[in-house]
Amino acid sequence: MIHSATHHPGFLSPTGVEITFLLVGLATLGAAVVTVTTRQLVHAALWLVVALGGIAVEYLLLTAEFIAWVQVLIYVGSVVVLLLFGLMLTKAPIGHSPDADSENRWVALAVALAAAGTLVWVVADAFRSTWIDVHHGTGQSATKVTGSSLFRFWVLPFEALSVLLLAALVGAIVLSRRRADVLPPAPDGSTAPHGKDR
């Protein structure tokens, strides 16, 4: 999939896919900016959906179909739903949220620019003039290639990540459980919270 092309197609004659890629990228960027600047909390979450969806489209344009759908499934389908769930649980108001502004705008902007700069620099430095030829309509191979590279070359980071996630999961369970010795046991034997606890 990755090999340096002998003849460089050049940047001055963009194809339709490249133009689309650029436009979707701009839209994604715009959505992302709105996400962090809007004063309405739920709108921010929904603009985040647009931004994440835009990224999924970018993956699609790069023929990374599998990654694109995973992006939609995990981020749009689960993370944002969780986010919205939290917002609704805390009764996010319709209209402006008075406490939506943490007054860290300039710091946030600096951090964002620094992060973006680092990423762009790393990616640009890593690939430089390597031209990655994406095969359109490769069909079966994309998922297979992703899977085999994941479990052949990247299996160690993959497993490390899953251990990290497992640790986080266990930690969340431990934190959310109340200590039994602090509370009197509930009549049914469980450690349900009593009035004193609230």
Binding site: F66, V70, V76, V80, F85, M88, I94, G139, T143
Partner: protein, 320 residues
């Protein structure tokens, strides 16, 4: 040029199916539910046994007043039905109906595409629930979100089991590699997938998010006219999609006698039988309570689907 025409024709066919099949399911639900309760169901709309009841409903909904509550978040309120409905249209495109490319558009990671896009549809309910500025809608939205997060996992695991068995994520590929004994092998997974799908569609007995008698149809409380109809259409399109998917993944899609010529008929028939079961469950089983629902997902469905994955893995390793 010919290719473009071909694609357009396929998409039009999918669109027609998208508009007709949910209506068929709805009308069947009217009639089946009626007869299961010893009634007759619609008899007058359209003359013969009320066949046009849902058409009349559509005509009526189209001319109803479009109410947006004053305190609602107008844009999101109006956008929500489209967000709820469109994913099912997209999913319908990739469900294979018959052999030899009888599908709207074959997608490589079709299984993932389907699950991902169906998850997006729930965003519509969440948007509706929040934007209506109504406490019942908000409760409905919360329940929707909780239910989605609980049932997405067993559904994914069950689907993953089939993908492991077939060795591919492509839906036509899964059907191609189907053997009759897979239905038994994947039985647990199939049941989990179907049940979790029902919960994701918020069909009875998993319809707490829209429980009409306790929270007044949940997220859709404030919707009137065409927008409400779109939500209803989304629900019935969801039934079609879920039954189609279960057919494709667990019941072998077009496999059956004379599959080469009438394979599409087999798919439709199996889908119809599953849709009948969906309706049948609605008539027969009462609504679960919210805690029962959560308990069912986490203590029954997820363990079963994990066992299924283990079983699939063992059989796969032994037979290969």
């Amino acid at each position: 040029m010919n290719d473009t025409l071909h694609v357009v024709l396929r998409l039009v066919a999918v669109l027609v199916a998208f508009l007709v099949l949910p209506l068929l399911v709805g009308q069947t639900e009217h009639k089946v539910m009626a007869h299961m309760q010893g009634r007759l169901g619609p008899m007058y709309a359209g003359g013969f046994h009320g066949w046009a009841q849902l058409v009349a409903d559509g005509v009526k909904f189209a001319q109803k007043e479009d109410v947006v509550p004053a305190d609602a978040d107008r844009r999101i309120f109006q956008l929500a039905p489209a967000v709820a409905l469109l994913p099912y249209l997209l999913v319908l495109i990739v469900i294979p109906v018959g052999p030899h490319g009888f599908v709207g558009e074959a997608v490589d990671a079709g299984l993932f595409f389907v699950l991902a896009v169906m998850g997006v549809g729930v965003l519509g309910s969440l948007m509706a629930g929040w934007a209506s500025a109504n406490k019942f809608s908000l409760l409905g939205g919360l329940r929707t979100a909780a239910q989605l997060m609980a049932y997405e996992l067993p559904m994914l695991l069950a689907a993953a089991s089939v993908a492991m068995a077939a060795g591919t994520l492509s839906l036509p590929g899964i059907v191609e590699s189907y053997h009759w004994w897979w239905t038994l092998w994947q039985l647990m997974g199939g049941l989990v997938f179907f049940t979790a799908g029902l919960a994701e569609l918020q069909r009875p007995p998993f319809d707490m998010p829209v429980a009409d008698s306790e929270i007044i149809f949940g997220a859709y409380t404030e919707y009137t006219g065409l927008r409400f109809a779109l939500f209803l259409l989304a629900e019935y399109a969801g039934i079609v999609v879920l039954c189609g998917l279960t057919t494709v993944l667990f019941l072998g899609g077009w496999h059956g006698p004379w599959a080469g010529s009438v394979g599409w008929l087999w798919t439709l028939l199996k889908t119809a039988v599953l849709a009948f079961i969906v309706i049948w469950l609605r008539v027969s089983y009462p609504r679960l309570r919210e805690d029962q629902l959560m308990k069912f997902a986490w203590t029954v469905l997820i363990p079963i689907s994990l066992v299924q994955i283990a079983l699939t893995g063992v059989v796969k390793v032994v037979t290969s």
